[in-house]
Symmetry: none
Subunit: 120 residues, 4 copies
Amino acid sequence: MEYKNNKPIFLQIAEHICYEILGGIYREGERMPSVREYAAEAEVNANTIVRSFDWLSQKDIIASRRGMGYYVSLGAAERIRQNMREAFFQETLPEFVRQMKNLGITGEEVEKQIKEMNDE
Amino acid sequence: MEYKNNKPIFLQIAEHICYEILGGIYREGERMPSVREYAAEAEVNANTIVRSFDWLSQKDIIASRRGMGYYVSLGAAERIRQNMREAFFQETLPEFVRQMKNLGITGEEVEKQIKEMNDE
Amino acid sequence: MEYKNNKPIFLQIAEHICYEILGGIYREGERMPSVREYAAEAEVNANTIVRSFDWLSQKDIIASRRGMGYYVSLGAAERIRQNMREAFFQETLPEFVRQMKNLGITGEEVEKQIKEMNDE
Amino acid sequence: MEYKNNKPIFLQIAEHICYEILGGIYREGERMPSVREYAAEAEVNANTIVRSFDWLSQKDIIASRRGMGYYVSLGAAERIRQNMREAFFQETLPEFVRQMKNLGITGEEVEKQIKEMNDE
DNA sequence: GTGGTCTAGACCACG
DNA sequence: GTGGTCTAGACCACC
């Protein structure tokens, strides 16, 4: 896994875990890999994983059971989907439109570009 | 001017200046406000403006003339437009599409949402 | 280390680091001393080192990894060598020749002088 | 006339005047253009010329006569030539050789490059 | 008056 | 502990 420099690694990992949950790699109610396992896999410091897990806990996506590790919460997938849709429509999309306006880019241009991306 | 917390102030200012150049507020070949003037206007420390100006200099958008201030470089507007369009099509757009796919959001939904945004 | 007065300290340090990389003191992929360590060693303010490192980053000679320090980029030594050779042949050498011509100094004189320098 | 950014303008102008004296444009004992004339010609602030003239005065290359302007000193050309030769052999040349060594550039390479420069 | 550099110190996010 | 940012203020060279 590679990390971008403009975003905290622990957030990138948290987001990645969300996609893993959405993709069924970790299922609701099941146990997550231990912090140290995940740290080894992600090739980062264990503290970084702690922060990722902590962040996910605050979002009710996973939950810790003392001494037993972290477990995927019930309803996690649906909650993730809701959060992401909300973020998309309230942040990503408005910013996207703002940039289009500022740069004078039309919807047609965007559609054309998307088609080209798909062709590659 | 208000500053967001997730991005360095000096970068937000630099970007803002780019938009001012695109908007014709500062024209090519003309002199920029002095560092201290701009610092007062933007309500930040002069060193912060120095950093913004320095960043813009490295992008060939403005250039300093010894003891006389900073001047907008020739071709700055076009260069800004190119840089921004490139960033839009190579970073923003692919990321936008990636999110749409991941969240199962269709083009129709996006269009509908944009119309609602315009109505407000 | 001693600093000349006609050139910013942060640039002298950056250049010095380049020579250290060329000399194998810092190798590609390896971690640089921390900003504070280097500041102590160079006996300057940490911010000055930040600027040197920042300058080197923009030249793709080193790169920062969040919270872990700066690392020498791959290909850094070769890139430095290229940059320096280019600067030598496109700036230093023409200026050198220009001065020779203006002062009526011949190649023989130069060679003779170099030999004397070596003898000392 | 164009000015480089890494050297004070007043020094560039002073040096330029030296070459003008060496080239016989201003002859020993003759009057220099007035500060304002020269400022207009060089397209810089008059104070800048004042500094250039002042610098040349300290080197005994020109001298002011109260209310009458600046005159080229007797022996100026010879003095300039001496100063420049000294600077060349004590500063430029050692620095040039130092760079050659650091970059592993041989005398043959330099000669070859000089020939190419002449061919253009 | 202009920018340029350096210092000092604080605070923050990150790992 | 790491870098990153911002502030504050000083001093300098230059125009």
